[in-house]
């Protein structure tokens, strides 16, 4: 089977997504859900690139027979990469938010505990000075 040039571009593009996805997982920089989402997207893009006939199903559903132009494909790829990047960023921010939540909760707890200890110590001092 000889692949058309656009199919090759699609396959390379999907492999790129899959490689980045795997790289980020191995570096512990994305969670399992995000990895799975982009893994599925990468596989779908790869399959559609190798078997463009899949797209005829969309023609049937949408009732359109307009061929996909190079501009559309390029825009689609750029947008997909952008969404991938944003998804990764959201994932990182979510992780940072959870870490910050834990850190802030602990600092608030420590400060509350310190205040309580000071209060207890003041009460004790007052009691002792009263006794004297």
């Amino acid at each position: 089977m000889v692949l058309e040039r656009y199919s090759l571009v699609g396959v390379v593009f999907s492999l790129l997504i899959l490689a980045f996805d795997l790289y980020l997982l191995r570096k512990h920089k994305i969670d399992g859900v995000t990895f799975t989402r982009w893994f599925i997207i990468g596989i779908v893009v790869c399959l559609v690139s190798i078997f463009p006939a899949f797209l005829s199903f969309i023609y049937l559903v949408l009732g359109t027979e307009v061929l996909v132009s190079a501009v559309t494909v390029s825009s689609f790829m750029v947008l997909l990469l952008l969404i991938f990047y944003l998804d990764y960023k959201v994932n990182r921010l979510n992780d940072m938010l959870l870490k910050l939540t834990a850190l802030v909760a602990v600092e608030k707890y420590r400060s509350r505990r310190k205040d309580k200890e000071e209060e207890d110590s003041n009460e004790e001092n007052a009691y002792q000075s009263g006794q004297v």
Partner: protein, 238 residues
């Protein structure tokens, strides 16, 4: 006792059991501090824990487990505790087992001690699905963490010393994102083995849940679990 120990009880919507758990722990171990980490509960978990005499940290929203546990690690380290023990807030872990889990860590035999339901004298009344999950998890951990043999890798009844907490916190906060709750203990076991922390197991027994269903075991989670294990393998494989 000359060492300071913190018992942490992460809890989400455990208003029916948390008071009993805290009171029992305080009754058995008056020298230990009890900290309930309320993971954004929507019920009266916080007030029930306070009534029972525990310290409470309430997270502002539900974080699904892992950050609540990390909060416990942070408190233990920053408030200068020597040892940390975690038990569940649903009443399934017996407070009577706390000393058994803590002892190997205090005696310096281990950095982390895991309470296992499947060791000698432990209970083995799991369903076939849970058994399959356990076999899969143990096989995976056995392959990724070569020098560690843990029969109950998903057990959350654990004790840590300061060294273990320092190593684990450094890894969680600086080297990786938080793990999904369902594989937290597997990830921790693998990290511990790679960072050369000593892990030991002791037998424990668990009680059935008195109220509600398990939060760590549902039909959807059961379907997702094998996928999580595959992802974990891809993530941690060297």
């Amino acid at each position: 006792m000359s060492y300071r120990t913190l018992i942490m009880v992460p809890a989400y919507n455990e208003e029916k059991t948390i008071k009993e758990v805290v009171e029992r722990v305080k009754e058995l171990y008056p020298d230990f501090d009890v900290l309930v980490i309320n993971d954004g509960s929507e019920d009266q978990t916080e007030s029930e824990a306070l009534k029972a005499g525990a310290d409470v940290i309430t997270l502002p929203f539900r974080t699904y487990g892992t950050p609540a546990v990390i909060t416990g690690y942070l408190v233990a380290l920053r408030c200068c505790y020597d040892y940390l023990v975690k038990i569940d807030g649903d009443g399934q872990h017996k407070p009577e087992d706390i000393l058994s889990v803590l002892r190997p860590v205090v005696e310096g035999l281990a950095d982390i001690c895991v309470g296992s339901r499947y060791l000698e004298n432990g209970e083995q009344s799991d369903s076939l699905i849970k058994l399959a999950g356990r076999v899969l998890s143990s096989t995976l951990v056995g392959n990724l963490a070569k020098n560690v043999k843990v029969s109950d890798v998903t057990s959350g009844f654990r004790a840590w010393n300061r060294r273990a907490l320092e190593v684990l916190l450094d890894t969680y906060l600086n080297e990786r994102s938080f793990s999904d709750d369902s594989v937290l203990w597997l990830v921790e076991t693998i990290i511990a083995s790679r960072k050369e922390l000593k892990i030991k197991e002791v037998p424990i027994s668990v009680l059935p849940r008195k109220y509600g269903g398990s939060k760590s075991f549902s039909f959807l989670k059961m379907l997702k679990y094998p996928l999580r294990l595959i992802l974990l393998l891809m993530e941690m494989m060297r």
